[in-house]
Symmetry: C2
Subunit: 180 residues, 2 copies
Protein backbone atom coordinates (compact mmCIF):
# COMPACT_ATOMS: atom_id res chain seq x y z
CA UNK A 1 0.00 0.00 0.00
CA UNK A 2 0.96 3.63 -0.38
CA UNK A 3 2.22 5.50 2.63
CA UNK A 4 -0.73 6.78 4.66
CA UNK A 5 0.03 9.21 7.48
CA UNK A 6 -2.97 8.21 9.54
CA UNK A 7 -2.06 4.50 9.30
CA UNK A 8 1.53 5.33 10.17
CA UNK A 9 0.53 7.17 13.33
CA UNK A 10 -1.89 4.38 14.29
CA UNK A 11 0.84 1.78 14.17
CA UNK A 12 3.57 3.91 15.74
CA UNK A 13 1.29 4.77 18.64
CA UNK A 14 0.83 1.08 19.55
CA UNK A 15 4.41 -0.15 19.63
CA UNK A 16 5.24 1.00 23.18
CA UNK A 17 2.14 -0.68 24.64
CA UNK A 18 2.79 -3.86 22.70
CA UNK A 19 6.37 -4.07 23.95
CA UNK A 20 5.25 -3.19 27.44
CA UNK A 21 2.61 -5.93 27.49
CA UNK A 22 5.10 -8.46 26.20
CA UNK A 23 8.27 -7.57 28.09
CA UNK A 24 7.48 -5.93 31.41
CA UNK A 25 8.27 -8.26 34.30
CA UNK A 26 9.22 -11.13 32.04
CA UNK A 27 12.09 -13.11 33.59
CA UNK A 28 15.52 -11.68 32.75
CA UNK A 29 16.27 -14.99 31.06
CA UNK A 30 14.04 -13.76 28.22
CA UNK A 31 14.75 -10.06 28.16
CA UNK A 32 18.53 -9.98 28.67
CA UNK A 33 19.41 -12.86 26.37
CA UNK A 34 20.75 -12.25 22.88
CA UNK A 35 21.84 -14.27 19.86
CA UNK A 36 25.57 -14.23 20.63
CA UNK A 37 28.45 -11.76 20.42
CA UNK A 38 27.53 -8.35 19.02
CA UNK A 39 23.81 -9.06 18.96
CA UNK A 40 21.06 -7.46 20.97
CA UNK A 41 18.69 -8.49 23.71
CA UNK A 42 15.15 -7.15 24.08
CA UNK A 43 16.60 -4.76 26.68
CA UNK A 44 19.09 -3.48 24.10
CA UNK A 45 16.34 -3.10 21.50
CA UNK A 46 14.20 -0.91 23.75
CA UNK A 47 17.23 1.29 24.44
CA UNK A 48 17.85 1.54 20.70
CA UNK A 49 14.24 2.55 20.08
CA UNK A 50 14.58 5.27 22.72
CA UNK A 51 17.68 6.63 21.01
CA UNK A 52 15.75 6.71 17.75
CA UNK A 53 12.98 8.74 19.38
CA UNK A 54 15.51 11.26 20.62
CA UNK A 55 17.85 11.58 17.66
CA UNK A 56 16.51 10.00 14.52
CA UNK A 57 12.94 10.19 13.26
CA UNK A 58 11.52 13.51 14.41
CA UNK A 59 14.81 15.44 14.29
CA UNK A 60 15.14 14.30 10.67
CA UNK A 61 11.53 15.23 9.90
CA UNK A 62 12.17 18.70 11.29
CA UNK A 63 15.36 18.99 9.27
CA UNK A 64 13.57 18.11 6.04
CA UNK A 65 10.91 20.74 6.67
CA UNK A 66 13.43 23.38 7.69
CA UNK A 67 16.41 22.77 5.42
CA UNK A 68 15.33 20.36 2.67
CA UNK A 69 18.25 18.76 0.86
CA UNK A 70 20.73 21.43 1.90
CA UNK A 71 21.54 19.79 5.22
CA UNK A 72 22.49 16.13 5.68
CA UNK A 73 20.94 14.13 8.53
CA UNK A 74 23.20 13.40 11.49
CA UNK A 75 24.23 9.72 11.23
CA UNK A 76 22.35 7.49 13.63
CA UNK A 77 24.43 5.85 16.36
CA UNK A 78 23.21 2.27 16.44
CA UNK A 79 25.15 1.42 19.58
CA UNK A 80 24.26 4.45 21.69
CA UNK A 81 22.10 2.37 24.00
CA UNK A 82 25.19 0.56 25.30
CA UNK A 83 26.01 3.60 27.40
CA UNK A 84 22.60 5.26 27.61
CA UNK A 85 20.81 2.24 29.07
CA UNK A 86 23.42 1.60 31.73
CA UNK A 87 22.00 1.53 35.24
CA UNK A 88 18.41 1.53 34.03
CA UNK A 89 15.88 -1.26 34.41
CA UNK A 90 13.75 -2.57 31.58
CA UNK A 91 10.55 -1.11 33.11
CA UNK A 92 12.29 2.30 33.21
CA UNK A 93 13.22 1.98 29.54
CA UNK A 94 9.69 0.91 28.59
CA UNK A 95 8.28 3.96 30.39
CA UNK A 96 10.80 6.26 28.73
CA UNK A 97 10.07 4.85 25.28
CA UNK A 98 6.33 5.28 25.78
CA UNK A 99 6.74 8.87 26.93
CA UNK A 100 9.07 9.89 24.11
CA UNK A 101 6.96 8.19 21.45
CA UNK A 102 3.84 9.91 22.73
CA UNK A 103 5.55 13.30 22.69
CA UNK A 104 6.90 12.70 19.20
CA UNK A 105 3.52 11.67 17.83
CA UNK A 106 1.92 14.72 19.42
CA UNK A 107 4.46 16.85 17.59
CA UNK A 108 3.92 14.94 14.34
CA UNK A 109 0.15 15.42 14.52
CA UNK A 110 0.70 19.08 15.31
CA UNK A 111 2.68 19.53 12.09
CA UNK A 112 -0.58 18.95 10.21
CA UNK A 113 1.37 17.61 7.25
CA UNK A 114 -0.23 17.94 3.83
CA UNK A 115 0.49 15.76 0.78
CA UNK A 116 2.92 18.35 -0.58
CA UNK A 117 4.84 18.34 2.72
CA UNK A 118 5.23 14.57 2.53
CA UNK A 119 6.97 14.98 -0.82
CA UNK A 120 9.58 17.32 0.61
CA UNK A 121 13.08 15.99 0.34
CA UNK A 122 16.05 15.66 2.63
CA UNK A 123 19.48 14.12 2.46
CA UNK A 124 20.45 10.92 4.25
CA UNK A 125 24.17 10.50 4.95
CA UNK A 126 24.29 7.10 3.23
CA UNK A 127 21.07 6.73 1.24
CA UNK A 128 21.17 10.14 -0.44
CA UNK A 129 17.97 11.97 -1.29
CA UNK A 130 14.86 10.72 0.50
CA UNK A 131 11.51 12.32 1.19
CA UNK A 132 9.46 12.87 4.32
CA UNK A 133 6.91 10.22 3.36
CA UNK A 134 9.69 7.63 3.09
CA UNK A 135 11.14 8.71 6.43
CA UNK A 136 7.82 8.22 8.20
CA UNK A 137 7.18 4.87 6.53
CA UNK A 138 10.69 3.80 7.54
CA UNK A 139 9.89 4.72 11.15
CA UNK A 140 7.10 2.10 10.98
CA UNK A 141 9.38 -0.39 9.26
CA UNK A 142 11.98 0.19 11.96
CA UNK A 143 9.49 -0.59 14.75
CA UNK A 144 8.45 -3.75 12.91
CA UNK A 145 12.05 -4.77 12.28
CA UNK A 146 12.70 -4.67 16.01
CA UNK A 147 9.49 -6.47 17.00
CA UNK A 148 10.53 -9.12 14.50
CA UNK A 149 14.01 -9.18 16.03
CA UNK A 150 12.75 -9.45 19.63
CA UNK A 151 10.61 -12.48 18.77
CA UNK A 152 13.57 -14.08 16.99
CA UNK A 153 16.01 -13.42 19.84
CA UNK A 154 13.65 -15.01 22.35
CA UNK A 155 12.92 -18.01 20.15
CA UNK A 156 16.65 -18.58 19.82
CA UNK A 157 16.81 -19.36 23.54
CA UNK A 158 14.59 -22.42 23.03
CA UNK A 159 16.31 -23.57 19.84
CA UNK A 160 17.42 -26.82 21.47
CA UNK A 161 14.51 -27.14 23.88
CA UNK A 162 11.88 -27.51 21.13
CA UNK A 163 13.57 -30.67 19.81
CA UNK A 164 12.17 -31.88 16.48
CA UNK A 165 9.60 -29.04 16.38
CA UNK A 166 12.37 -26.74 15.17
CA UNK A 167 11.56 -27.89 11.64
CA UNK A 168 8.12 -26.27 11.90
CA UNK A 169 8.99 -23.04 13.68
CA UNK A 170 9.73 -20.42 11.06
CA UNK A 171 11.22 -17.98 13.52
CA UNK A 172 14.10 -20.42 14.08
CA UNK A 173 14.93 -20.31 10.37
CA UNK A 174 15.21 -16.55 10.16
CA UNK A 175 18.76 -15.48 9.37
CA UNK A 176 20.19 -12.75 11.57
CA UNK A 177 19.32 -10.17 8.98
CA UNK A 178 17.92 -7.51 11.21
CA UNK A 179 20.75 -7.44 13.69
CA UNK A 180 21.48 -5.16 15.13
CA UNK B 1 18.84 -22.29 27.55
CA UNK B 2 17.19 -25.45 28.79
CA UNK B 3 13.43 -25.61 28.87
CA UNK B 4 12.15 -24.01 32.07
CA UNK B 5 8.46 -24.47 32.88
CA UNK B 6 8.21 -21.24 34.83
CA UNK B 7 9.79 -19.24 31.99
CA UNK B 8 7.51 -20.95 29.51
CA UNK B 9 4.39 -19.99 31.44
CA UNK B 10 5.66 -16.42 31.88
CA UNK B 11 6.04 -15.94 28.16
CA UNK B 12 2.87 -17.77 27.13
CA UNK B 13 0.84 -15.68 29.56
CA UNK B 14 1.92 -12.42 27.88
CA UNK B 15 1.23 -13.17 24.23
CA UNK B 16 -2.50 -12.35 24.26
CA UNK B 17 -1.93 -8.96 25.91
CA UNK B 18 0.92 -8.14 23.53
CA UNK B 19 -1.20 -8.93 20.48
CA UNK B 20 -4.12 -7.06 21.99
CA UNK B 21 -2.04 -3.93 22.61
CA UNK B 22 -0.65 -4.05 19.12
CA UNK B 23 -3.66 -5.05 17.03
CA UNK B 24 -6.90 -3.94 18.68
CA UNK B 25 -8.49 -1.08 16.77
CA UNK B 26 -5.61 -0.80 14.33
CA UNK B 27 -6.94 0.13 10.86
CA UNK B 28 -8.03 -2.89 8.81
CA UNK B 29 -5.37 -1.91 6.30
CA UNK B 30 -2.85 -3.33 8.78
CA UNK B 31 -4.73 -6.25 10.27
CA UNK B 32 -6.42 -7.73 7.21
CA UNK B 33 -3.50 -7.43 4.81
CA UNK B 34 -1.34 -10.44 3.98
CA UNK B 35 1.71 -11.24 1.87
CA UNK B 36 -0.18 -12.54 -1.17
CA UNK B 37 -2.06 -15.68 -2.17
CA UNK B 38 -2.15 -18.41 0.49
CA UNK B 39 -0.55 -16.24 3.16
CA UNK B 40 -2.04 -14.97 6.38
CA UNK B 41 -3.06 -11.63 7.81
CA UNK B 42 -2.81 -10.73 11.50
CA UNK B 43 -6.53 -11.58 11.69
CA UNK B 44 -5.79 -15.06 10.31
CA UNK B 45 -2.91 -15.53 12.75
CA UNK B 46 -5.06 -14.79 15.80
CA UNK B 47 -7.64 -17.30 14.53
CA UNK B 48 -4.86 -19.86 14.09
CA UNK B 49 -3.61 -19.25 17.64
CA UNK B 50 -7.15 -19.80 18.93
CA UNK B 51 -7.37 -23.12 17.10
CA UNK B 52 -4.07 -24.12 18.69
CA UNK B 53 -5.44 -23.35 22.15
CA UNK B 54 -8.46 -25.54 21.50
CA UNK B 55 -6.93 -28.50 19.69
CA UNK B 56 -3.15 -28.55 19.84
CA UNK B 57 -1.03 -27.77 22.87
CA UNK B 58 -3.01 -28.77 25.94
CA UNK B 59 -4.88 -31.67 24.30
CA UNK B 60 -1.48 -33.07 23.33
CA UNK B 61 -0.07 -32.50 26.82
CA UNK B 62 -3.01 -34.39 28.27
CA UNK B 63 -2.53 -37.18 25.74
CA UNK B 64 1.14 -37.57 26.68
CA UNK B 65 0.28 -37.82 30.37
CA UNK B 66 -2.57 -40.22 29.79
CA UNK B 67 -1.41 -42.44 26.94
CA UNK B 68 2.32 -41.84 26.41
CA UNK B 69 3.57 -43.08 23.07
CA UNK B 70 0.69 -45.46 22.55
CA UNK B 71 -1.59 -42.85 21.01
CA UNK B 72 -0.62 -40.49 18.18
CA UNK B 73 -1.55 -36.80 18.40
CA UNK B 74 -4.42 -35.67 16.18
CA UNK B 75 -2.87 -33.74 13.24
CA UNK B 76 -3.22 -29.99 13.58
CA UNK B 77 -5.42 -28.28 10.99
CA UNK B 78 -3.44 -25.20 9.98
CA UNK B 79 -6.29 -23.73 7.96
CA UNK B 80 -9.12 -24.24 10.46
CA UNK B 81 -9.37 -20.51 11.11
CA UNK B 82 -10.65 -19.95 7.55
CA UNK B 83 -14.04 -21.24 8.63
CA UNK B 84 -13.84 -20.71 12.39
CA UNK B 85 -13.07 -16.98 12.19
CA UNK B 86 -15.84 -16.24 9.73
CA UNK B 87 -18.24 -13.56 10.93
CA UNK B 88 -16.06 -12.62 13.88
CA UNK B 89 -14.27 -9.33 14.43
CA UNK B 90 -10.62 -9.03 15.39
CA UNK B 91 -11.52 -7.73 18.88
CA UNK B 92 -13.71 -10.81 19.36
CA UNK B 93 -10.84 -13.07 18.34
CA UNK B 94 -8.41 -11.26 20.65
CA UNK B 95 -10.82 -11.72 23.56
CA UNK B 96 -11.32 -15.38 22.73
CA UNK B 97 -7.58 -16.01 22.47
CA UNK B 98 -6.95 -14.33 25.83
CA UNK B 99 -9.68 -16.34 27.53
CA UNK B 100 -8.57 -19.70 26.12
CA UNK B 101 -4.91 -19.06 26.85
CA UNK B 102 -5.72 -18.10 30.42
CA UNK B 103 -7.79 -21.26 30.91
CA UNK B 104 -5.08 -23.42 29.39
CA UNK B 105 -2.36 -21.93 31.58
CA UNK B 106 -4.54 -22.42 34.66
CA UNK B 107 -4.83 -26.07 33.72
CA UNK B 108 -1.09 -26.33 33.03
CA UNK B 109 -0.22 -24.83 36.41
CA UNK B 110 -2.73 -27.17 38.04
CA UNK B 111 -0.91 -30.20 36.59
CA UNK B 112 1.98 -29.35 38.93
CA UNK B 113 4.39 -30.99 36.51
CA UNK B 114 7.60 -32.40 37.94
CA UNK B 115 10.86 -32.94 36.05
CA UNK B 116 10.02 -36.60 35.48
CA UNK B 117 6.66 -35.61 33.95
CA UNK B 118 8.40 -33.30 31.51
CA UNK B 119 10.42 -36.26 30.24
CA UNK B 120 7.31 -38.27 29.42
CA UNK B 121 6.98 -39.11 25.79
CA UNK B 122 4.26 -38.94 23.19
CA UNK B 123 3.94 -39.54 19.47
CA UNK B 124 3.60 -36.77 16.90
CA UNK B 125 1.98 -37.79 13.60
CA UNK B 126 4.91 -36.45 11.55
CA UNK B 127 7.79 -35.84 13.96
CA UNK B 128 7.61 -39.18 15.78
CA UNK B 129 8.53 -39.47 19.43
CA UNK B 130 8.65 -36.18 21.33
CA UNK B 131 8.46 -35.38 25.02
CA UNK B 132 6.30 -33.06 27.09
CA UNK B 133 9.13 -30.61 27.67
CA UNK B 134 9.62 -30.23 23.91
CA UNK B 135 5.89 -29.78 23.39
CA UNK B 136 5.74 -26.92 25.90
CA UNK B 137 8.86 -25.26 24.50
CA UNK B 138 7.36 -25.54 21.02
CA UNK B 139 4.21 -23.79 22.27
CA UNK B 140 6.46 -20.81 23.10
CA UNK B 141 8.28 -21.09 19.78
CA UNK B 142 4.92 -21.16 18.00
CA UNK B 143 3.78 -17.93 19.69
CA UNK B 144 7.09 -16.32 18.73
CA UNK B 145 6.88 -17.60 15.16
CA UNK B 146 3.56 -15.87 14.75
CA UNK B 147 4.59 -12.60 16.43
CA UNK B 148 7.52 -12.66 14.02
CA UNK B 149 5.15 -13.33 11.14
CA UNK B 150 2.71 -10.56 12.09
CA UNK B 151 5.51 -7.96 12.15
CA UNK B 152 6.75 -9.21 8.76
CA UNK B 153 3.28 -9.18 7.17
CA UNK B 154 2.69 -5.60 8.28
CA UNK B 155 6.12 -4.42 7.16
CA UNK B 156 5.43 -5.92 3.74
CA UNK B 157 2.66 -3.37 3.25
CA UNK B 158 5.21 -0.53 3.35
CA UNK B 159 7.80 -2.31 1.22
CA UNK B 160 7.56 0.35 -1.49
CA UNK B 161 6.69 3.25 0.78
CA UNK B 162 9.99 3.14 2.69
CA UNK B 163 11.97 3.82 -0.50
CA UNK B 164 15.74 3.41 -0.09
CA UNK B 165 15.38 2.57 3.63
CA UNK B 166 14.40 -0.96 2.61
CA UNK B 167 18.11 -1.78 2.57
CA UNK B 168 18.30 -1.20 6.32
CA UNK B 169 15.06 -2.80 7.45
CA UNK B 170 15.79 -6.42 8.27
CA UNK B 171 12.15 -7.41 8.44
CA UNK B 172 11.85 -6.73 4.70
CA UNK B 173 14.58 -9.26 4.01
CA UNK B 174 12.93 -12.11 5.88
CA UNK B 175 11.92 -14.90 3.51
CA UNK B 176 8.39 -16.19 3.90
CA UNK B 177 9.68 -19.02 6.02
CA UNK B 178 7.06 -19.00 8.72
CA UNK B 179 4.05 -18.97 6.48
CA UNK B 180 1.56 -20.09 7.09
Amino acid sequence: MQHNLSHTISLLSRTPAALNAFLRDLPDAWTFCNEGANTWSAFDVVGHLIHGERTDWMPRARMILQFGETQTFVPFDRWAQESESQGKSLPQLLDEFARLRSENLDELRGMNLQPADLERRGRHPALGVVNLSQLLAAWVGHDLTHLHQVSRVMAHQYREAVGPWSAYLGVLHCAGHSSP
